[in-house]
């Protein structure tokens, strides 16, 4: 029982923060805006968060983070709505939901499909929230004992994991990590006070603004890509039939129970791992459901299990991704890197100390996640009609709106013209990356971790008097590095590679 008592006052504090009128409002704005933009195709969670980031800078840290988290899972949610209704996943994690979800919709069962997706996400989100509350504190306590070598090795592992799992070519992904580290160096060196890579520009001595890099690489570049491929409304198979029978039958519910349990387990596991995330979780859950069923031939023809499993998995993963981010200060994905970036801009150094120094922020955020998930269930189902109408807005009207938001936002952060010019530069660079088929996600992760990594490397080698073996003689540090090496070796093995490539390709083909 002692554990419960320990947990209870914390969650009580969390709910008292999250249930304040102001924070409830920001949570609502977050999930609403997130769902709205998540519904729109061609704008993933990354671009959405990057775009809305500046708005949150004027808020106090807790509210800002609550709103950003709301945007994040709102996006995930909106993505599955369009996957079911129009077979157009708003983001890659809901690609598999298309398969059976849209099929159900075509059979006139859009209502139950949407409802099951909502229920599965809510249950997974609730369990995910409990997991964060349970796993966060012990993990943070452990991390507080970490020295510089452990931190450095942990970051190495996180970065390698993101490269290995996220991109088609490992070599290119690792090169992108180094490029991200390099961009992270720009600015004044904390140890010597020397300004590095500023190219004589006074604006750069404070370092590259995080918003600029994120908005350029994920907002500006994505719009260029969408303009090129031409996101046309006429190709969308819009479901014009009115949605009836929102509620799933008893049989639907019964068939969904086990997939939800399994999906949640898979999602929680992958979500907490650095580098993996909602997309891989959803694919794995779908594959597992196909294996578990007695009628695998029916998959892809409107099986409710094919909606319940992946939907719970991607939501659990989205939720559990906060565990390493908040407890260790190490983001596992590019989206989480944006969250940490937002935290840094608010003047809070991310890391295990956040939980003890700013309990209201940590527990408030966790409580708000649960509230946000509940809001999504209430919000999404009645508003389905609105989301469908939103889908009819042609892209030629949509992208000027996004650009307007971005331009105002990026300028407003520092009221700096230079920031806008740098956004253009990173936007064009991001587009070149797309053309060259190099993924920008590892870059942004490394960009956020760069300064921390250099600092810890310096400190570790100072303690060891310049002897690099310190990373292997300390057991925890050695463990992280060995894990990183194992990951790399696994990915070079042809069998594993093939499987991963298949999953990635399926994802890419269908989101494009």
């Amino acid at each position: 029982m002692s554990e419960f008592q320990e947990l209870f006052p914390n969650l009580y504090l969390g709910f008292s923060v999250a249930l304040s009128l102001k924070n409830l409002m920001y949570c609502f704005i977050g999930v609403f805006a997130g769902t709205m933009i998540g519904v729109l195709p061609g704008i993933g969670p990354l671009a959405t968060i990057a775009m809305l980031l500046p708005i949150t800078f004027n808020l106090e840290p807790t509210s800002a983070l609550i709103m950003l988290a709301g945007i994040y899972y709102g996006c995930q949610y909106g993505g599955s709505t369009t996957a079911i209704l129009v077979k157009l996943p708003g983001e890659s994690a809901s690609v598999v939901t298309c398969l059976d979800g849209h099929e159900m919709a075509r059979q006139g069962r859009a209502g139950p499909a949407l409802a099951i997706a909502a229920i599965a996400s809510f249950i997974a989100g609730t369990i995910g929230t409990i997991l964060i509350a349970k796993a966060g504190p012990p993990l943070a306590e452990m991390a507080l004992k970490f020295g510089a070598p452990e931190y450095f090795s942990l970051m190495v592992m996180g970065l390698i994991a993101s490269a290995v799992l996220a991109s088609a070519s490992i070599l290119k992904a690792i090169a992108m990590i180094f490029l991200g580290l390099l961009f992270g160096i720009i600015g004044t060196d904390v140890n010597s006070g020397m300004s590095r890579f500023a190219f004589g520009l006074p604006e750069l001595t404070d370092g590259l603004s995080f918003t600029v890099v994120a908005m350029g690489l994920f907002g500006f570049a994505e719009i260029l890509k969408n303009l090129e491929i031409g996101t046309d409304t006429s190709t969308r198979s819009l479901l014009t039939k009115k949605i009836e029978h929102l509620y799933p039958t008893k049989e639907d519910m019964k068939r969904s129970v086990m997939p939800i349990v399994r999906g949640t387990a898979i999602g929680s596991f992958f979500g907490a791992l650095p580098g993996a995330g909602p997309t891989i979780s959803a694919f794995s859950a779908y594959a597992l459901e196909k294996k578990m069923t007695k009628r695998p031939d029916m998959f892809g023809k409107g099986m409710i299990e094919g909606v319940a499993g992946p939907e719970s998995a991607n939501n659990a993963a989205a939720q559990c991704a906060f565990i390493p981010t908040l407890a260790l200060g190490i983001p596992g994905s590019a989206t989480m890197a944006l969250m940490l970036g937002a935290l840094t801009i608010q003047g809070i150094a991310p890391g295990p100390q956040v939980m003890t120094q700013r309990p209201e922020l940590f527990w408030g955020l966790i409580a708000s996640m649960w509230i946000g998930n509940a809001m999504l269930v209430l919000l999404n189902l009645p508003l389905v009609g609105l989301w469908v109408r939103l889908l009819r807005v042609p892209y030629r009207l949509l992208f000027p709106a996004i650009l307007t938001f971005m331009a105002i936002g990026v300028y407003s952060v520092n009221n700096s013209q230079m920031d806008v010019f740098m956004t253009i530069l990173f936007g064009l660079m991001g587009y070149v990356f797309m053309k060259l088929k190099v993924e920008p996600a590892p870059l942004i992760l490394a960009f956020v971790l760069g300064p921390l990594m250099e600092e810890n490397l310096r400190r570790a080698l100072l303690i060891s008097r310049g002897d690099p073996s310190v990373f292997f003689t300390r057991p925890i540090s050695a463990g992280f590095l060995i894990a990183a090496i194992v990951l790399l070796i696994l990915m070079i093995l042809p069998a594993v590679r093939k499987k991963r490539d298949q999953a990635l390709e399926e994802g890419e083909v269908q989101t494009a």
Binding site: L179, I185, E228
Partner: protein, 151 residues
């Protein structure tokens, strides 16, 4: 044996990494290196530069081995229009005021889509300016003059 670039995207991304690495090393030569025990500000960037060059070389090499799809055409029109639009906004917000800069930005970038229609652009311009005013000036309280005569 004659070498042929079979995957231009790999070849050129390798070249890009090498270029960034070389730039890093070139710029860092002015920064003190220090030793492994007491690293100077030049140590970390130089190390990164070396790694980038090595990785870049490896990626370039795969450009001769792998089969790629090619890079395709560059959408110069959207690239130029979007960049000019953003740059004009950055200049305009300090000189013309919030509303004129947004009008120019929206008018310019709308042209990036090939099927733009002027009537639509005017309407969306009005809607977007009103919305931006409501969100950023009214609700968030950003202190930008609306027109040039308010500077």
């Amino acid at each position: 044996m004659k070498l042929k670039i079979s995957s231009p995207e790999d070849f050129w991304s390798g070249v890009m990494f090498i270029a960034f690495g070389a730039l890093a090393i070139y710029v860092s030569r002015d920064y003190p290196m220090g030793s492994a025990m007491r690293m100077g500000p030049g140590y970390f960037p130089t190390a990164i530069g070396l790694c980038l060059i090595a990785l870049g070389a490896a990626v370039t090499a795969t450009g001769f081995k792998l089969k790629g799809e090619g890079i395709g055409r560059w959408p110069w029109r959207s690239m130029v229009v979007l960049s000019v639009g953003f740059a004009t906004y950055a200049w305009g917000i300090d000189n013309l005021g919030f509303i004129p800069s947004l009008a120019i930005l929206i008018g310019l970038v709308s042209v990036a889509s090939r099927d733009y229609r002027w009537k639509e652009v005017i309407v969306s311009m009005a809607v977007l300016i009103a919305g931006s005013w409501a969100v950023f000036i009214y609700a968030l309280g950003l202190p930008y003059p609306l027109f040039w005569w308010s500077y």
